[in-house]
Structure formats: structure tokens, C-alpha cells
């Protein structure tokens, strides 16, 4: 352990004991999802109170979003009590209770955490399937620490992997460790991360960039922004390791303007890292120097494509570039560049700390580690969960998600974003890993799983997805630009019972043209929602083609308009 890191450790110990020693600590889980149901108001209510025995701490979401607003009361006895669906009034009562009594406040309590078994009528959190079936690596600090607070992060062994790499490992050894871990990119393409790094590492150019992609436009996926707003230091640490391993000195974290909660969290983390010698010149007293900056983009889904992302950082229209040259040879400002997704980078600190063999112990042979899935739609427990790769879809839906939240069964899933697929019941026994999911016709992609019950019409769902793809096509390749518009028109007439006999063949023809005629995945994968639906819902789609189905309601969608003062 370096002297600099030892000093930071000592500072953080003192900092933590000031917060916890002989105090009741009330942690309020805020964040984008919590804000939507009133967590900010709960936090304000608690912060307005003033008892010497109680500290109120803002923390990120632990992922059990269906229970939000959530607070956790950490007692001096080291027992934690979890409260769900907390209103301002209940929060106030909880605070007042613990400022005067030593008993446990029972209302709205749903679980506890303790080394002993407490005499209460709610369960230990480790006995709840939605918690016990998870394996939290990248999300290990979720719900525990204040986003961006460096000393809380260091107290949870944060930056120890960086310290280990800088002083005990060569850059080549870091690349080898990541390669050997089998870590694959979590942004959608599932390319082996260590191999990607090894393309950049030997390049002797004086300026090289590592970029982190948080342009998470996929509807239904919120885990990238989730990591940024809940535990941004994990990302900062991973990205510095990425830089050290590839001998690069500058990085950008790329995210859309307007997502203020994750942006503020990562900027706080970056600032605190600079303030404590974790970023900048001679990190932790080593010879390695590294800079990090946030780069904002406007609203554009295609900006998440790696070469389009570089165009956006350069300040241009985010349209994809021709490849080759590949980014490792010529990327941002024509300099050698590496791009990784937020989730991918967030695994790196734990891999370096515990070793690649440890990481390989989880998951399947070709998809090591965990997947971070986002459940939403008609499911009892929507939220963000980290599960070992290889768990079946059904286990995720039932054990973690708690099954359908309506009177009807789960009919289908939409996975991997709007360019991913639609899966029917037959596919629910599929194991969640990159290759099995691809075989089933869908992709794991960014980890979004939207659950639909029997009330959802498959053609209506695909129409919504294709409308998104049409709206978001950047327009550079005409097969994508026109193809998505044409497909939307055909699907719209299917929904209106006005379809024409050859419409299915027409859709396929358009889809094929898009596949061969587009530069990036947006056009290449645009037919996926339709092809995967046909695999599972052939007869329902045929009914629409034959105009047997009832016409659906018109869908309200935005129209792309020219700026009005250009007219």
C-alpha cells in the first residue's frame, strides 16, 4: 500500500467514525427513480430536523425501485432496518422515534439486516429472493454510500485496486488480468474488453484517449446512469485503470445533457478525485498522470455508437464513421482511442482487486461475471438487479421480479433496447448470457427487460419500437433513414387493419436492405424487433396482416420538424 493511499485510508476512517460512531444514521435512497416518487421531499423533511443523535445521509438507490422512496436506518448496534414506500410524514415519525427511543419502529419496515436474528415480524433482507438471488459486483456499493463522496468510497476499499495496479502491476499485467477475466463489453456488442485494450496499449502515440460511454438512450435501460448516479467513483477508478493499462492520459465520460442527477454525481466524484490526488499529475505519488472530463451531448440516440460518439465529443453531428480505421488506430481527433461502456468499466476495479480467476468463478464459460438487468413494465418488482450470468429468464422474472403484476400472465419481453428483440414464453427458459440470448433471437444488450402481460398487442409494441428507431435514425445512411420510416408506415397500417397482402414480405425486404446498407447497428439491427416477434407471435401477426384483428388506437409520436426559422 502506497503512503498516499494509506493517508487517504486514515482520513476516511476518521470521516466515517464521525458519521457513524454512537449515532443512528438514516440513509435516504435518492436518484432518478426515487425522485420520480418523492424521495427528494423525504430527504428534505429529514434534513430539516436536527437531533444530535441522528445523522441523515443521502445515498443512491439499492435497485429495489418498486419500494421507493426507501430509507435505511443504521442503528449503533450495527443492525439495519429497511423502510419502504416512505412518505414525508412517515419519514418524520421514523426520525422522531429514533431520536428518543431505542426500540424498532415497525410501520413501513419491510426487512432488516443483522448478525443476530431480530424479534420482528418482517424478514431478514438476505432471506428475500429479490435480494439473495443477486450477486453484486459492479453495484456492490448501491444504497450504501453517498454518490461521489470519496471517503465513503475509500472506506469500502475503494481505490485499493488502483493502488495495487499502480505499485504492484505493470500496464501489461493489468491488460492480461482483464483479458483473462473473460470480461466482455456490456454496451451491446459483447466484445472481449481485454482484447480491445490490447489493441490500444502497444500504440506509441503521445496522445491516446479512453472514453466511457454513458449515452444510454435505450428505453427500458437505466443501469449506466444508475451506476453514475449511485457509485460514480467505481467508474472513475475503472477508467483510470483503463488509462493505466493502455498508457493513455486523457478520458471523457460521455452523457446526454439534461440527466442532471448522474451528471452532478460524476462531476462531484471527478472533483473529489482531483482534490485527493487520485486524478491529475502523479496519481497517488506514482509516475502515472491521468485527466478526466465530462462531455455532454445533445439528444441523439445514435451518439451512443462509438464513432458517432467521437464526432459528438468533437462537437459535430453524431453520425457514425466508416470503419476502418478503427478507433484504436484513429479515433477521437484522429488519435488512438478506446471506448467502453459504463458497466464494463465498473467491473474492472473488482477484477483487479480480487483477480481474474475470482471473476471467472461467476457466470458461464463464455459470459463471465454478472449482468445488470433493469426490469420494468407489468412486473411486481421493477428495479435494477445484478445477477450471475447463466440465470434463466424465468428465474429473473419469478424469483427476482415476483411475476406479473396483473391478472394475466407474462406474455412477452422486450430485451436489449429497441434494436433488440421480442421474446415469447417459449424463450423464458433461456439462460441470460450473451450467446444464449442471441440464439433466442433477442440480445442481452444493455440489460433492459420490459415485461408485457397479455393485454399488450405484439404489433403495437413493435410499432412503438420502430417509431423510436425511425425518430432516432441519424439520417446518414438512406437505407436506415428511409427504411425505418417505410417500416413504420407498414406497421401502422397493420395496426389499423388496413394491411396489404404482401406486407410481411415487404417488411423483410426493407429489413434486409437496412442490414446490408447501413454503417452502424441502428440500421443493421432495425429489423430485429420484427424478425424476433415473428419467431414467437407468427399467428398474432398473421391476424393483423389478414386484417382480422381489431384496429388499434392511433399512436401519438413526435414528428421531426425543421427548425421553424429555417423555413
Amino acid at each position: 500500500m502506497s503512503q498516499n493511499y494509506k493517508n487517504l485510508k486514515n482520513l476516511s476512517e476518521k470521516y466515517i467514525s464521525d458519521i457513524y460512531d454512537n449515532k443512528v444514521v438514516i440513509k435516504v435512497q435518492t436518484g432518478t427513480s426515487g425522485q420520480a416518487v418523492g424521495a427528494d421531499e423525504v430527504l428534505k423533511t429529514l434534513e430539516a430536523k436536527n437531533s444530535k443523535e441522528i445523522n441523515v445521509l443521502e445515498v443512491g438507490s439499492m435497485g429495489l425501485m418498486y419500494l421507493e422512496p426507501m430509507i435505511v436506518v443504521c442503528l449503533p448496534s450495527k443492525d439495519n432496518i429497511y423502510y419502504a414506500n416512505v412518505t414525508e410524514n412517515i419519514a418524520s415519525e421514523i426520525y422522531d422515534h429514533y431520536s428518543s427511543k431505542e426500540t424498532i419502529y415497525k410501520q413501513n419496515a419491510f426487512a432488516y439486516e443483522s448478525n443476530s436474528s431480530l424479534d420482528v415480524d418482517f424478514p431478514n433482507i438476505n432471506d428475500l429472493p429479490q435480494f439473495s438471488n443477486q450477486l453484486r459486483i459492479a453495484t456492490r456499493n448501491f444504497g450504501d454510500i453517498t454518490p461521489g463522496d470519496i471517503f465513503q468510497y475509500i472506506n469500502n476499499e475503494g481505490y485499493s485496486a488502483l493502488d495495487k495496479a499502480l505499485f504492484e502491476m505493470s500496464p501489461e499485467e493489468v491488460v492480461e488480468e482483464v483479458k483473462n477475466s473473460g470480461l466482455r463489453g456490456r454496451g451491446g456488442a459483447a466484445f472481449p474488453t481485454g482484447v480491445k485494450w490490447s489493441f490500444l496499449a502497444p500504440n506509441q502515440a503521445p496522445t491516446k484517449y479512453v472514453l466511457c460511454n454513458c449515452e444510454e438512450g435505450d428505453p427500458g435501460a437505466y443501469n449506466d446512469k444508475g451506476i453514475l448516479e449511485t457509485d460514480p467513483h467505481t467508474l472513475v477508478e475503472g477508467l483510470i485503470l483503463n488509462g493505466y493499462a493502455t498508457n493513455s492520459n486523457k478520458s471523457y465520460v460521455f452523457i446526454r445533457q439534461g440527466h442532471d442527477i448522474p451528471i452532478n454525481a460524476i462531476e462531484r466524484a471527478i472533483k473529489e478525485a482531483y482534490d485527493n490526488g487520485i486524478l491529475g499529475e502523479n496519481i497517488l505519488g506514482s509516475n502515472f498522470s491521468f485527466d478526466m472530463e465530462v462531455s455532454l451531448t445533445g439528444d441523439s440516440y445514435v451518439a451512443g455508437e462509438e464513432t458517432a460518439l467521437m464526432e459528438a465529443i468533437e462537437g459535430k453531428r453524431s453520425t457514425p464513421r466508416f470503419k476502418p480505421p478503427f478507433p484504436a488506430a484513429s479515433g477521437l481527433w484522429k488519435k488512438p482511442t478506446n471506448i467502453n461502456n459504463v458497466k464494463t468499466i465498473s467491473y474492472v476495479p473488482e477484477i483487479i482487486k480480487n483477480g481474474s480467476e475470482w471473476f471467472k468463478g461467476t457466470g458461464t464459460e463464455k459470459s463471465t461475471g454478472t449482468a445488470i438487468v433493469c426490469l420494468s413494465g407489468h412486473i411486481n418488482r421493477p428495479g435494477m438487479y445484478e445477477i450471475p450470468m447463466g440465470m434463466t429468464i424465468n428465474d429473473v422474472l419469478e424469483n427476482i421480479g415476483g411475476g406479473s403484476n396483473s391478472e394475466t400472465d407474462i406474455k412477452m419481453l422486450q430485451t436489449g433496447g429497441p434494436l433488440g428483440g421480442v421474446l415469447g414464453k417459449e424463450a423464458f427458459s433461456t439462460k441470460i448470457d450473451f450467446d444464449e440470448m442471441a440464439k433466442s433471437g433477442a440480445i442481452l444488450g444493455s440489460g433492459g427487460i420490459i415485461v408485457c402481460d397479455e393485454s399488450v398487442s405484439v404489433v403495437d409494441l413493435i410499432r412503438n419500437l420502430v417509431a423510436f428507431n425511425q425518430f432516432e435514425s441519424c439520417g446518414k445512411c438512406f437505407p436506415c433513414r428511409l427504411g425505418n420510416t417505410h417500416m413504420y408506415d407498414v406497421l401502422d397500417r397493420l395496426c389499423n387493419s388496413k394491411s396489404e397482402p404482401n406486407d410481411l414480405a415487404l417488411l423483410e425486404r426493407i429489413g434486409n436492405s437496412m442490414k446490408i446498407g447501413s454503417l452502424c447497428g441502428h440500421g443493421q439491427l432495425g429489423y430485429n424487433p420484427i424478425s424476433s416477434s415473428l419467431k414467437y407471435f407468427q399467428s398474432e401477426i398473421s391476424d393483423s396482416i389478414n386484417n382480422i384483428s381489431e384496429p388499434l388506437e392511433k399512436m401519438l409520436i413526435p414528428t421531426r420538424t425543421r427548425p421553424n426559422n429555417l423555413e
Binding site: S33, A36, C374, M384, R560, R562
Partner: protein
Amino acid sequence: MTDNILDSDSLRSSINESISNQKRSTVTVLSSLLAVQDSLHYIPDEAIEEIASFCKVTINDVWSVASFYTNFRFTPPGDKTLDVCWGPSCHINGAQKLITKAHDLLDIEGEGESSDNKVTLRYSTCLGACAQSPVFAIDHKMFGKLDEGKVETIIDTLKKE
């Protein structure tokens, strides 16, 4: 917003202030446009000209970027902006009905401003709080688990403010 439209000179000086004081060190056409949109909430013609000279590019270069990203607008928005999500999670949880409700209550067709210019309604492809769908946002503050009653309440408050 309408009552405090600035005259062209003060508009230019306010634009120049926001583009020359960007808090992140990498300054580009896009970052300058975002900075103007952040402070004025729209991109006036003057901003296109000022950014072109600030970044040493042509007016066409700036327009090409400004017209590409869907968040840029070229006229002043209403006092408050209501984002309604039509992404698939919200869609299957009844977003279309809620959007129609918002249209009725605000007397807006599609996207745009209410007649008193108090509210701008925008469609959003995903607000990022899918676990709480259906979701709307007012000036980036999220409102989740919506139903028609809640939409009525938040729009009532919007109108009163």
C-alpha cells in the same frame, strides 16, 4: 419567457458570456450550443452567428449541428417544460392515454406551447425512470407512477405557477 425577450445587443452579450465561460475545458460547437440552450432555453439566430465566430467555423457548420440534435429549439419555450414519455415501458403502462389527457388539459396538439405560453409540451423517448413508469417530467424533475388523476394534479399546479 416571452416578457423577458432581450433586445439583440443584450442577447449577444448574454450569449457571449455563456459561450466564453463554459465550465468544462473542451469547447466545441456542440458544447457552445448546449451552453446557450442551458442559459436562454433556446438558440436564437444571434447565437448561431456568435458561436460561428467564437469557434472559427461557418454559420452553416453551426446550423448543421444545431438542426441535428432534437433538444435544440429556435424559439423561446414556455415558462415550464413538460416532458411526456412515450418509450415502450411507459407505452405499455398507458402513456398514450396520459399524453392525450395532457393535450386536453393544456389545449396543445402534438408538441408545442400552450396559448398563454406558460407550458411547452415535448415528447421524450425515455426519461430514465422506467421502473416508475408511466413518467412525465417538469423542467427535468420526474413524476412517476402516473395515472389520469395525478396528471390532472400536476398540470393544475403547472398552470397556477
